[in-house]
Symmetry: C2
Subunit: 349 residues, 2 copies
Amino acid sequence: MALEKVTGDIKRMYEQIKIRPISNVENLLPWNTFLEMGLIVAHRDLDKILSEKKWAIVSGRGPSGPLHLGHLLVFKLVAWFQRVFNVHAFIPLSDDEKFVFGKIGSLNDAANWALENARWIAALGFDPKRTHIYVSSKHSWVYRYALTVSRHLTLSSVKGALGVDDSKNIGIPFYAAVQIVHILQPTFDFGLRTLVPIALDQDVFMRLTRDVAEKLKIPKPASVYVKFLPGLQNVPMSSSVPETAIYVTDNEKVIYSKIMRAHSGGGISTADHRKSGGNPDRCVIYEWLKAFYFRSKEHAERYAEACRTGQIVCGYDCKPLVYDLIVDFLHKLKNKADKIDLDSFLWNP
Amino acid sequence: MALEKVTGDIKRMYEQIKIRPISNVENLLPWNTFLEMGLIVAHRDLDKILSEKKWAIVSGRGPSGPLHLGHLLVFKLVAWFQRVFNVHAFIPLSDDEKFVFGKIGSLNDAANWALENARWIAALGFDPKRTHIYVSSKHSWVYRYALTVSRHLTLSSVKGALGVDDSKNIGIPFYAAVQIVHILQPTFDFGLRTLVPIALDQDVFMRLTRDVAEKLKIPKPASVYVKFLPGLQNVPMSSSVPETAIYVTDNEKVIYSKIMRAHSGGGISTADHRKSGGNPDRCVIYEWLKAFYFRSKEHAERYAEACRTGQIVCGYDCKPLVYDLIVDFLHKLKNKADKIDLDSFLWNP
């Protein structure tokens, strides 16, 4: 899949497109488990943005269904940045994106999912005073800024970036301008450079955005490259393959079943595993434990060693542990989400 | 130029694309000088829309400079339709169009022109209670409806319709959806079929709009095809060639000079003209007299005969007459425009 391919290409990316390993700037960030567990792999201009007094973080979501744990992890990182650096966070919910790509039947359906998603996102620890969640198509400035941006993007550059041809609808290339607007809006409105957490395979979007910023003579956005939580079946999490992800709407029975059937690095049988050990380096469950459990590299390494030596077994130890962690995490988050005063986070037109 | 080419193609258009000669439905319209002078040449579904109890008329304008007399003539026709059929008129001022096509430097400049243009348009006799003038990019529903429409338009169909290639910016194909929204908005919001006065060479837009309406299962717009006032130099009026048009902002000296230098059907000298007569069928001034002076075919024919027989001469008779008519028309219109309560016509977000 794209993600793995790109991860393989990371050295080339470091050389060609000014992306830098996160290790170069680790000392600029306070200790955190995202770095400790290798969930942030690279950056562009993070050092530059951290040297500025005020900046903003932007991270969006296309609302076409319930959030899964991969989404929550990214927004947890955004909330961490907000907390640690005391910055404003802008969270566009791009109903327009999901609509033009045909992932949702109507903008109203998308708006309903947007509000549902927003509740869970807000519950991750965002500060209502400095968080601005909004539904993209409901703000006339989105269209106006997108017009401004569109003048600087040719059809050929956007078709190349998105990999689309002329059989696609005209909303798709224009959405490129809208996404760029989401990233640049705090710069347009408040002169704040923005930081965007993104996956490496989406960097082409950051490059388009930076090109536009240069043409408009405004500060270019910075980015941190996030390693996505792998899907339970060892393919990327996908809404069209529900077994790959755990959704915030899944009940305990569904979560149990998904985890128990997940791809792991265990032996072909329990007896074999006890004898020969497992392979945590090829284990989805181990990756999920990195995201939700381990608090240090040493902790993770001790655990990996117990796997390699057959002291712990997927079905008896690791999967029940992940199950407990996730059920507990979602249970607590749901309690917070139910109590959220959503209006205090929403940027209403 | 495109217009003449298409006029030559009109028979083909009648056969291929369901445009009908206006003569077929003349009896459905009360007597009016637009028809009498041949300024409306064809229609599509005019009979259908007139058979409905309620409908609306839509006619827009891209605000990138002052209006010229050609614009005023079209809006006079729109005001006539409103008065005679007691219908609501929707007048989008497409700042977005002028911006994506690079005809104006900023949306704010376009908005300023929009308000200036709106004042003159309103003064043409529109009813404030049933007239809705609006600046396109300022309404979030424009973007939302354009998203809905965009799903039904492929890049290839719009590139073909507009005649643009991939070197153009991504705002241009998306604007096709916006223009369709302007036409369909009264149908979306109030279920009213719309009538659009348009030039024959822009019919491709009506066909795109009707295709989208069919896909959305809403009533298709009707159209009347307007013969544009020819430019003074016998090329179409154009903002980039100011001598071709008379602008509402031209002073009397400028108007005089433009008319005196206009292309006419006169002889090569006054003496020659007196002797051999002129050719009103190839005379721009005669076309302008049709638009602003003659009140019947007989009136126009008597006048043409006086030209053919050399009884009247361009520089002594026709041009001074047109000058007086236009200065008087603009003078009266300016008085009205100055007193217009613009807010009562504007549809503000």
